[in-house]
């Protein structure tokens, strides 16, 4: 059982929570994630990035978007409530060293896993260019925190409601075209965004690291549900990743695999809203 110590709503459907998890807080490094389960009997296990950790308090911070049944129920939980299972930290930590200039691109909720990496890269002495993108202003998260860490900060939205009206690939290409070109790109966000970021940097030959978020059950290499094709070889995101060379990842295959249970997920999600409606009606009528 892991107690919820703090809860903040960051945008329309994005939430930040601090969970009591002393062991994970102590061991966790940037790039790692947890698997969380709300009900040990019938609940599903979902991977979530660790956005931050406080080893002294013994807490970790998670940031998640309420997109499906489990994340919706989680979003409704309050300070003092508990989560039944949190397992971690899982995955290989980010390889952090002084590369020189590092471009960190975060799309939507992807800014959450990017944040600790930016912190780490900055601490290692890199010059940091941050590019943050979202569909619209209301979906931008951690803007201030990212701005504070960046040597250069670019923000863009699809609809132009905040910053440049552009996709993140546009400024990314510009930055890659500078002389000297950046030494490294880290891109985290929706699969389609990471795919196009990798395509954008490929002609410039800038190493581009992406962090994949696939379907998982155990998170320890046992089930193989998370497998992706990287450089023609099968890799497990949970133990070999979650970070890979974006120029080697078969994103199309990964996106198809992510959709494997879409019908079921949509149904569960709808059902969850219906139940919530029923519950709220029940609570009104005595």
């Amino acid at each position: 059982m892991n107690k919820i110590l703090a809860r903040t709503q960051l945008s329309d459907d994005v939430y930040m929570m601090r969970l009591d998890a002393p062991y994970i807080a102590r061991e966790r490094l940037p790039g790692q994630f947890v698997i969380l389960q709300l009900d040990n009997e019938f609940g599903e296990r979902i991977p979530l990035t660790i956005a931050d950790a406080d080893p002294v308090e013994g807490s970790i911070t998670i940031i998640f978007q309420a997109v499906g049944k489990t994340t919706h129920i989680l979003a409704d939980k309050q300070v003092g409530d508990s989560v039944q299972s949190v397992l971690g930290p899982l995955g290989q930590p980010t390889h952090i060293e002084k590369f020189g200039t590092v471009v960190c691109v975060g799309g939507g909720i992807g800014v959450a896993p990017l944040h600790p990496i930016v912190k780490g890269m900055k601490a290692a002495g890199n010059r940091i260019i941050v590019i943050v993108g979202a569909r619209t202003k209301g979906l931008v998260i951690l803007e201030e925190q990212m701005r504070a860490l960046a040597d250069e900060f670019i923000i863009c939205t699809d609809d132009g409601s905040l910053g440049r009206k552009a996709l993140v690939t546009e400024p990314l290409k510009e930055v890659c075209g500078r002389i000297p070109k950046p030494d490294m790109v880290v891109a985290i966000g929706p699969p389609i965004m990471m795919k196009f970021c990798a395509e954008a940097t490929r002609p410039f030959g800038v190493h581009t690291m992406v962090s994949l978020n696939t379907i998982m059950i155990d998170g320890t290499g046992m089930c193989g549900g998370c497998r992706v094709t990287v450089g023609g070889q099968t890799k497990f995101v949970c133990v070999d990743g979650p970070e890979f060379d974006g120029h080697q990842v078969d994103f199309d295959n990964m996106m198809q695999r992510l959709k494997a249970y879409r019908k079921h997920e949509d149904h569960a999600h709808k059902q969850c809203h219906l139940n919530a409606e029923i519950r709220s009606k029940e609570s009104i009528t005595p």
Binding site: E27, N40, T70, Q84, L87, D218, C223, G224, V239
Partner: protein, 495 residues
């Protein structure tokens, strides 16, 4: 195979036993051999195809006694030689034949900690029963005394009647042992080490303990309540259990010894790394490792469509690649989830199949279709990346290989297409690399199995290992035997 109703089997056994008990002279070996071999009562195949309840219902007391009476009490006990943990088989069968079921169970428990589990999942036909004189006399291992079924009966009876005596625990020694994993090897170590008065903490990565007994073996073959009872027995003995705790990540193995004050560590993390065929199309949507498929169905209860959040694919036509128990479990799970056709594809013949005879028979009764001497060459998908067909090759058997089984040789140019909607790959597991990768100095073989000496000790002082992480994917009973050995070494070391 025709299905006999449990009622018929029970009635026939009662009548036969009554007849035998009226006798005043002891049975001759010939008469013992003439006793009807007792069939295991099972759920009707047509019914069980649609439920997840246990298939084999277990003997009646009369059946257990009759089956035990078939034992010739051979002086050289060849059956014991076939048992990896050397259970006194003639001894417990004698007690069971006399109706002393509690006594029989106590005899088994001297050597085996998990009789209710092993009675269900041991491959008896290649262990104790393979060597049975009765089977030899009747020229079929199928006619051997059903040692495993009697074992199961006495263990179930003990559990259900609550007559199990809690083991005595020696006074606290102040020593502390960490057990990593909660499968059969670890359960054995935890019990044996705790009995000596040492404090024991078990670490489990999943949210529930039991390891492969819980995530891998389906409910219809091993009810989870039985595994839970074994775990309850451990916690009842004072063993502490930490779930959602993955050693190597949540805490490094060496930190357990260097910082947390553990005097010894046992690694029983099993063979949890699914093998794939490494053929084209294996990452298409609709292709699963058996581990994934079974974990969804078992541990995550995806068969309970109404209540479980974890989804599971429910395709019409399923192909399972492989011929072991896991392949049978996956195929029979697919049947229960409503598949219209389930195909097992195996590149050798039935004789070479590693699955237990009983599982094979049950799978056939449930309508699983077997394609022998056939293997997948590549997987074919549609424009959305979903698997739609297998390209298969026919095989024939050649010379025996290192394992003594005849080597399957592909028939050149025999490619053909088999249309399917999902593929489950059940060709085995390698050792999970998580602990070796995160523990400096822990030596492994080139296959990733942890290397241990004859006492079960690894290359690191105070660290022991056993079960599938050492053996490669093997059996519950072997894992238990390994656990016994390591526990004895740990107890010796902590003296």
């Amino acid at each position: 195979m025709s299905h006999s109703s449990p009622e018929t089997l029970a009635l026939e056994a009662r009548q036969e036993l009554e007849g035998l008990l009226k006798r005043t002279t002891p049975l001759t070996p010939k008469e013992r051999i003439a006793i009807t071999a007792q069939e295991m009562p099972t759920q009707d195949p047509a019914v069980r195809r649609r439920n997840v309840q246990e298939v084999a219902l277990g003997y009646t007391p009369e059946q257990a006694r009759l089956e035990s009476m078939r034992c010739l009490q051979c002086r050289n006990a060849p059956c014991v030689q076939g048992c990896p943990v050397r259970i006194d088989i003639p001894g417990f069968l004698k007690a069971a034949a006399d109706g002393d079921f509690q006594g029989a169970c106590s005899i088994i428990k001297k050597n085996s900690l998990l009789p209710a589990v092993c009675g269900r999942v041991c491959p008896q036909e290649t262990q104790c029963q393979e060597h049975c004189t009765v089977g030899k006399a009747l020229k079929s291992v199928d006619k051997a005394v059903s040692i495993g079924r009697v074992e199961r009966f006495v263990a179930d009876l003990e559990r259900e009647s609550g007559s199990a005596v809690a083991p005595t625990i020696k006074p606290a020694t102040g020593k502390k042992v960490a057990v990593i994993g909660t499968g059969p090897a670890s359960i054995t170590v935890a019990a044996d080490v705790r009995r000596e008065g040492h404090q024991v903490v078990m670490f489990e990565a999943f949210h529930k303990p039991g390891g492969v007994l819980v995530y891998g073996i389906p409910e219809f073959r091993l009810p989870k309540a039985i595994v839970q009872k074994e775990i309850d027995a451990l916690t009842g003995m004072g063993v502490e259990l930490k779930t959602n705790f993955v050693i190597g990540r949540t805490r490094k193995l060496k930190a357990l010894i260097e910082e947390d004050g553990f005097d010894a560590v046992f690694i029983g993390t099993g063979a949890g790394l699914p093998k794939f065929m490494n053929i084209e199309g294996e990452n298409l949507v609709g292709v699963f490792s058996a581990n994934e498929y079974l974990t969804r169905a078992n541990l995550m209860k995806a068969y309970d469509f109404e209540r479980a959040d974890t989804p599971i694919s429910r395709p019409g036509r399923v192909a399972v690649l492989g011929g072991g128990n896991v392949a049978m479990d996956a195929a029979r799970t697919a049947v229960r989830l409503g598949a219209e056709e389930v195909h097992i594809i195996y590149r050798r013949t039935e004789v070479e199949m590693p699955a237990r005879i009983e599982e094979l028979a049950h799978a056939k009764e449930e309508g699983v279709i077997f394609h022998l001497l056939e293997n997948a060459k590549r997987l074919i998908g549609d424009k959305d990346g979903c698997v739609t067909a297998l390209e298969c090759l026919r095989y024939e058997l050649g010379e025996p290989d290192a394992s003594g089984r005849r080597r399957p040789v592909e028939v050149k140019g025999s490619e053909f297409i088999r249309e399917i909607d999902a593929v489950i790959v059940a060709i085995g597991n390698d050792s999970n690399p998580l602990i070796p990768r995160t523990t400096d100095g822990l030596q492994t073989t080139k296959w990733g199995n942890i290397i241990v000496d004859e006492t079960g000790k690894t290359s690191i002082d105070r660290v022991y290992a056993g079960g599938d992480i050492v053996l490669g994917a093997a059996t519950v009973i072997l894992a238990m035997g390994e656990g016994r050995r390591a526990a004895a070494s740990i107890n010796e070391r902590l003296k």
